[in-house]
């Protein structure tokens, strides 16, 4: 009997595993994201400028935002994209429907893309511990000393505002950060990397893109 | 009895059935065959016209008139076109229905065969389950073959001696060309191939070949196109010139027909022919390619093993499509479920093989309607299948695949099942007494009611979702038109479509307000719809081949599912189609303006009753088929050869067979008469059969072991007999056999003097049978085995049980009782791999027990051929057969298929009254080993070369000293290489 115990144990485990799906079944299914925006109601996206709190020298954040996100509105949502800078004095303006209605009087199928943006850059340093000497490779450089990183942070508070009613249809805050070992990392390249992450999160709900999720189906 | 066995071995099968007690001696044809059940005996009559003698049995006078007029009209047309006359009247055998046609003893009819012609007696076989205009076309096609045989070979029997048969396209192409008509089906096949750059090409030897899958042999459609091309390029007389040129071809070497007739090489011909076809189809280039609609749903051979969607039905949810398709790996028609999301095959719900029905009915002609239907509650799918004499409607569970309902249909060629919206009944069409009507089958009671009862050819009905109307097509003259009737009264017919062209495959929109259909007014079948309230007609497609079976998505208006002919097969597509308004029609009642047009043959004849004669039957005999020559090689190196000649009457009811057969200088003769006119068939036979075997002399005198080999003890057995055999098929798979006969046995060694001289026993070997036998036997035979075209048995089981009694009626007559059993089981593993199991056993008791012999080949591989002799015994085989190569191109030509086999066998045998032992002498000059049983194991390969099944095997001997301990087996000796030619069991 002792010899056969492992076999019996395996049998029992297998049986238990097979009997596990008695009342429910766990499934992984791709579910669409929920969206309050109905893209079919619009035909034009106007980048009306962002309130820029901070941007690195030599970088026009508004221009970068329009140039990066504009083609996506065009290709994915089939909108006609234009840039029409509007004087934005404060954040409260985003919540004033009259203001936005007045920009395009009459019925229009326009969506204003605006909000607040900030791209910051800072240097961070950290002290590295000494690595153990490697017996296999004694010539390997032993590390130690101080490590430098260039940290870029993109904060984007995005508003999508209906042109006909001035209603805010999307109000989302994005903050993405990335560190680079290159101390001379260019700000526009860093913006590109960070904006890529924002783009994924922005368009998923707009396009109701699907994401894998778990659900449970009941068998009886 | 005519059995559904492969024709090359049919004669040998008849030989097997001669003697109920001699099964072991016939090793080269191991199958019993399925039964063709003659359910009905026809009272044949004949009627002569100017160029035909029509054989018929129908009592309906109008039918004979129609057939006579069709035949003579066809003759007039062909004679003028080919400038040729036939010397003798053509025997035209008319079967009233298709299922009657299948009972023919002359022709081997399978599903889908409309008509047959044969070159020996110029007989034509046709059936009446089709509209008159199609019958006309069919007779023209088959009669054209008769003209071809006559032009080529001159006399009726000259075809017997023709060794060099011209390429098939010459025959089929001319038969199609002679009708001077291109069917929609044929046009589509050609156009599809042209626009997809898949035109078949002529080889150097003159054959027409293609490497792309096609719904049928290109000889038909492209043969027709070749003749059109020849006429266009070389003139109308060129067709006759072509046939004159092949008439004088030498027997052995074949010259390419086009080279001989027009002095053009095949590759130049191909270039010109393709250019001609492309020019002819140029205007269709800008039309829609079906591949633009959507991805193809379902069968996508060779990406999956399913080719062709004969019919499809959309589930009530719209997520699934059931498709009737051809399974290329199983050579079978299957029902599969397809996802409409991505076109993947979800499930085959009719996998493997079954005996619940013989085959699922399918149609190439879409105008007859789809052959499957999905119930409104989504729980069953209906299809029609062949079930014994006629057909049955089956309901199958689409997920679990089991049959959940079966309803007998007593009518011919049922098709187009459609559920009523409340699911309580199914509508279908079928032939009844020469007309094609619409029927209702009540699923509760099984009762069938004819809803139309008229002489119109109604097809492809569809019921509106609101349950109030039914739409269908009627063949008027030679085109199909759509009609609408209230479901409560199908005699009220409102015509929906008018004008030129066919309109078929109707279906309703989900709101019952619109009827979708297809029409070919633009020379290709496109999807249309007609709004029932306004008569507005919309066209939705402009395809280059043909779209069929449009049906609306159950919950998405504007989306249609349909079948389109694309790249050689029907495939299912889906598309959101807007449609453009093309016309507006005013509906009219059938015949309200003028009587509906009916097709009539060109000639009119009056039938004279006094000329009708009863069929004389056996009065006149003809050579039935060309003498086959069979060759078999056994594992002892013996060569078997034989030939046969068969005679029969015109209808094949009475058959005489003369056979001669030789092995090792021993000749056998055989003469039989088979009467297969009725269900109970009988066959009196006389024969003299001489065979050899190797009695185990050492069993009697072990001293001989050291002096002689087993082959030195070769003996002969000569049986002279007169007997009568009877067969009664219970159904397609099972039958009873009986035999009563007199047999005279003579046996002795080839060289008795020297054998007995060397034996230490003065009496010598005294187990030879010399005497008379008067015996009666009964047997029960069954074969459900499904055969692969290449490898033989594939799945199913086969058995034969027999009991024979020999009566000692006088001095010198033997007395014994012999029972035999042969059981086989084939377990299909998929992909042509299978496990084959056999158990065969027998016992003969009595004063003179029958001595049987066996061994060698695939019975007991390690034993010498026919070297195991006994009165009781059994052997068992287990083989694992695995396909290796389907077809291989080698320096000696194409070989294949090639299959590997792993085998095991075991046997026990004894003489009555003696212990059952085997003696083995594994080492010289040592006493033999005594064994209870012997057997073998090993492996081998089987390949086909020149049509012969060749086996090369490596065999090791096994022995069981004590059979009560089956695991006490031992192996003896080395692996031996064995070679034999013969069929697998």
């Amino acid at each position: 009997m002792r010899k056969n115990s492992p076999i019996l144990l395996c049998l029992l485990v297998l049986l238990a595993a097979c009997r596990g799906g008695d009342t429910y079944r766990k499934i992984r299914v791709e579910l669409p994201a929920y969206s309050t925006l109905h893209p079919e109601q619009f035909e034009q996206a106007i980048f009306s400028g962002f309130l820029v709190a901070k941007e690195p020298d030599g970088l026009d954040l508004n221009k970068e935002i329009a140039e990066y996100f504009g083609p996506d509105f065009e290709k994915k949502l089939h909108f006609r994209v234009t840039v029409q800078r509007v004087a934005l004095e404060s954040e409260e303006l985003f919540r004033k429907p009259d203001f936005w209605r007045s920009l395009a009087p009459g019925p229009s199928r326009v969506l204003y893309v605006t909000g607040k943006a900030e791209l910051t850059r800072e240097m961070r340093k950290s002290i590295l511990g000494k690595a153990k000497s490697d017996a296999d490779d004694p010539l390997a450089q032993q590390r130690g000393g101080v490590a430098e990183r260039t940290l870029f942070s993109l904060s984007l508070h995005l508003y999508l505002i209906r042109g006909d009613s001035g209603e805010v249809v999307l109000d989302r805050d994005f903050k993405e950060t990335k560190a680079y070992t290159n101390p001379k990392q260019r700000a526009d390249f860093a913006f590109y990397d960070l904006a890529q992450r924002v783009r994924t999160k922005l368009f998923r709900p707009i396009l109701s893109e699907e994401r894998m999720q778990e659900r449970y189906l009941l068998l009886k | 009895m005519t059995l559904r066995a492969r024709s090359s071995a049919r004669l040998a099968l008849l030989l097997i059935l001669v003697s109920a007690t001699a099964a072991q001696e016939f090793m080269f044809y191991p199958y019993y065959g399925k039964n063709k059940v003659i359910y009905e005996t026809f009272r044949w009559k004949s009627y002569p016209t100017e160029h035909f003698r029509i054989y018929f049995y129908t009592e309906e006078p109008r039918t004979l008139k129609n057939v006579a007029e069709v035949a003579e009209s066809a003759y007039q047309k062909l004679s003028e076109a080919l400038k040729h006359q036939l010397a003798d009247p053509v025997p035209l055998i008319f079967y009233t229905t298709y299922t009657d046609f299948e009972l023919s003893n002359v022709f081997d009819i399978s599903e889908g065969v409309l008509g047959v012609s044969e070159p020996l007696l110029h007989r034509i076989g046709i059936h009446g389950d089709m509209p008159l205009d199609e019958l006309q076309r069919l007779v023209e096609h088959e009669l054209a073959h008769v003209f071809e045989f006559d032009i080529l070979w001159g006399s009726q029997s000259a075809a017997l001696y023709a060794l060099n048969i011209p390429p098939l396209w010459l025959f089929e192409g001319l038969s199609e060309y002679a009708t001077q008509d291109w069917s929609a089906w044929s046009t589509m096949i050609v156009r599809d191939a042209v626009l997809n750059d898949r035109i078949p090409e002529m080889t150097e030897s003159g054959d027409l070949t293609t490497r792309f899958p096609m719904p049928r042999d290109p000889s038909y459609d492209f043969g027709h196109a070749i003749y059109d091309f020849i006429e266009a390029r070389y003139g109308k007389n060129a067709v006759k010139d072509l046939w004159q040129s092949i008439k004088g071809s030498p027997l052995i070497r074949r010259i390419t027909p086009v080279k001989k007739a027009f002095n053009i090489k095949p590759h130049d011909f191909n270039h010109e022919f393709q250019k001609y076809l492309r020019e002819k189809n140029r205007k269709f280039l800008l039309r829609e390619n079906p591949a633009d609609y959507s991805i193809a749903l379902g069968p996508k051979f060779p990406l999956n093993p399913y080719y062709f969607t004969f019919s499809h039905a959309v589930s009530p949810s719209g997520d699934l499509v059931a498709a009737l398709t051809y399974n290329v790996t199983d050579f079978d028609v299957d029902l599969v479920l397809v996802s409409t999301e991505d076109g993947s095959i979800i499930k085959n719900i009719t996998p493997g093989f079954t005996t619940e029905y013989e085959y699922i009915v399918y149609e190439y002609d879409p105008s007859l309607g789809s052959d499957i239907a999905w119930s409104p509650d989504g729980d069953t799918i209906a299809f029609i299948a062949r079930d014994g004499r006629k057909y049955s409607l089956y309901l199958i569970d689409p997920v679990r695949g089991g049959i959940v309902g079966k309803y007998k249909i007593g009518h011919d060629r049922p098709s187009a099942p459609r559920f009523f919206p409340d699911g309580r009944a199914v509508m279908f069409t079928a032939f009844t007494q020469g007309t094609h009507d619409i029927f209702e089958l009540d699923l509760q009671s099984g009762e069938i009611v004819n809803l139309t009862r008229d002489d119109y050819f109604e097809k492809a009905p569809a019921i509106s979702p609101d349950g109030l109307s039914v739409v269908y097509s009627i063949r008027l003259d030679n085109t199909d038109k759509l009609f609408l009737s209230p479901l409560a009264d199908l005699s009220q017919k409102t015509q929906l479509t008018f004008g030129p062209g066919n309109t078929t495959c109707p279906s309703f929109s989900t709101d019952s307000r619109r009827v979708y259909y297809v029409g070919d007014v633009r020379e290709a079948f496109n999807i249309y719809s007609v709004e029932l309230a306004s008569g507005e007609i919309k066209r939705y497609t402009d395809v280059w081949t043909g779209n069929f079976f449009p049906s609306a998505h159950p919950s998405d208006p504007g989306t249609l599912f349909f079948s389109s002919f694309n790249k050689g097969s029907y495939q299912v597509f889906t598309a959101r189609l807007e449609g453009t308004v093309e016309d507006r029609v005013t509906f009219a009642g059938l015949g309200s303006a003028q009587p509906p047009r009916r097709f009539r043959p060109a000639l009119t004849l009056d039938i004279e009753d006094k000329k009708i004669e009863p069929y004389p039957g056996i009065n006149k005999l003809y050579v039935a088929r060309r003498p086959p020559i069979d060759v078999v090689v056994s594992s002892d190196g013996s060569l078997y050869g034989g030939a046969a000649l068969a005679f029969g009457d015109l209808l094949g009811d009475h058959n005489f067979l003369v056979m001669i057969y030789q092995a090792r200088g021993l000749r056998s003769y055989y003469l039989s008469y088979l009467n297969q006119k009725r269900r109970l068939q009988f066959m009196p036979t006389v024969f003299e059969f001489t065979m050899f075997y190797y009695p185990p002399y050492a069993y009697i005198d072990p001293l001989l072991y050291d002096r002689l080999t087993y082959q030195d003890a070769i003996a002969y057995r000569k049986i002279t007999s007169a007997n009568i055999e009877a067969y009664y098929p219970l159904n397609r798979y099972y039958r009873l056999e009986g035999n009563l006969g007199f047999y005279r046995y003579e046996e002795n060694f080839f060289d008795p003097y020297s054998l007995n001289q060397q034996s230490s026993r003065p009496a010598g070997y005294n187990y030879f049978w010399n005497g008379n036998v008067l015996s009666f036997s009964l047997a029960f035979v069954g074969e459900t085995t499904h055969f692969s075209p290449y490898y033989g048995p594939r799945a199913g089981h086969t058995f034969r049980f027999s009991l024979a009694q020999a009566f000692p009626v006088a001095q010198g007559f033997f007395s014994n009782t012999t029972v035999r059993a042969d059981l086989r089981k084939y377990l299909y593993l998929g992909g042509d791999a299978l496990v084959a199991l056999r158990l065969e056993g027998w016992a003969s008791r009595g004063r003179d027990p029958y001595v049987s012999y066996y061994g060698g080949n695939n019975q007991v591989r390690s034993a010498y051929f026919y070297n195991i002799v006994c009165t009781e015994g059994w052997f068992a085989n287990a083989e694992l057969r695995l396909p290796l190569i389907n077809v291989a191109s080698t320096i000696i030509g194409t070989i294949g298929p090639i299959r590997a086999v792993l085998f095991f066998d075991i046997t026990r045998a004894k003489f009555n009254g003696y212990p059952g032992k085997f003696y083995l002498s594994p080492e010289p000059l040592r006493p033999p080993v005594v064994l209870d049983a012997i057997g073998s194991y090993g492996w081998g390969v089987q390949l086909f070369l020149l049509g012969l099944p060749i086996h090369i095997e490596w065999v090791k001997k096994l022995g069981w000293p004590d059979i009560s301990d089956p695991f006490s087996l031992q192996t003896y000796g080395q692996f031996e290489t064995k070679f034999w030619i013969g069929l697998d069991f």
Partner: protein
């Protein structure tokens, strides 16, 4: 009984258990049919089957829950909510329905569902 026989019996038993236990839902009922359809990504078919169940048995918890999942898949949020609420009303303590409903609500709030995403790695040399 010999060892060989015992082993054969054990293997047979294992085989039977595997087949019965692991074969998935029984397809004798429409709920099982719908699950089969869902397994094959045929959500319209699944909705058709589960709605059929509710037509015969409006108190079927499984049909309400499963229909809710199917509606989620189709992006029919209101319908999904109604079915989840109906299921919870019939079986308020069912942990699987509660978990489904929670995930459903999280999915409606984009910020919450984004946080579950794994962040891309930073650039390293």
């Amino acid at each position: 009984m010999s060892k060989t026989t015992l082993a054969v019996i054990a293997l047979a038993f294992l085989g039977i258990s595997l087949v019965s236990g692991c074969a998935g839902p029984h397809l004798k009922d429409q709920v099982g049919f719908g699950i089969w359809a869902a397994d094959n990504d045929l959500w319209d078919e699944a909705i058709f089957r589960w709605k059929k169940v509710l037509g015969q048995d409006p108190l079927s918890v499984a049909a309400h829950n499963n229909l809710a999942v199917a509606y989620e898949k189709k992006g029919l949020w209101e319908e999904a909510r109604k079915e989840y609420e109906a299921a919870l009303k019939l079986a308020p303590d069912n942990p699987w329905i509660k978990l489904n409903f929670k995930n459903f609500k999280d999915n409606l709030e984009p910020g919450k569902s984004d946080k579950k995403d794994k962040a891309a790695p930073d650039e390293k040399k």
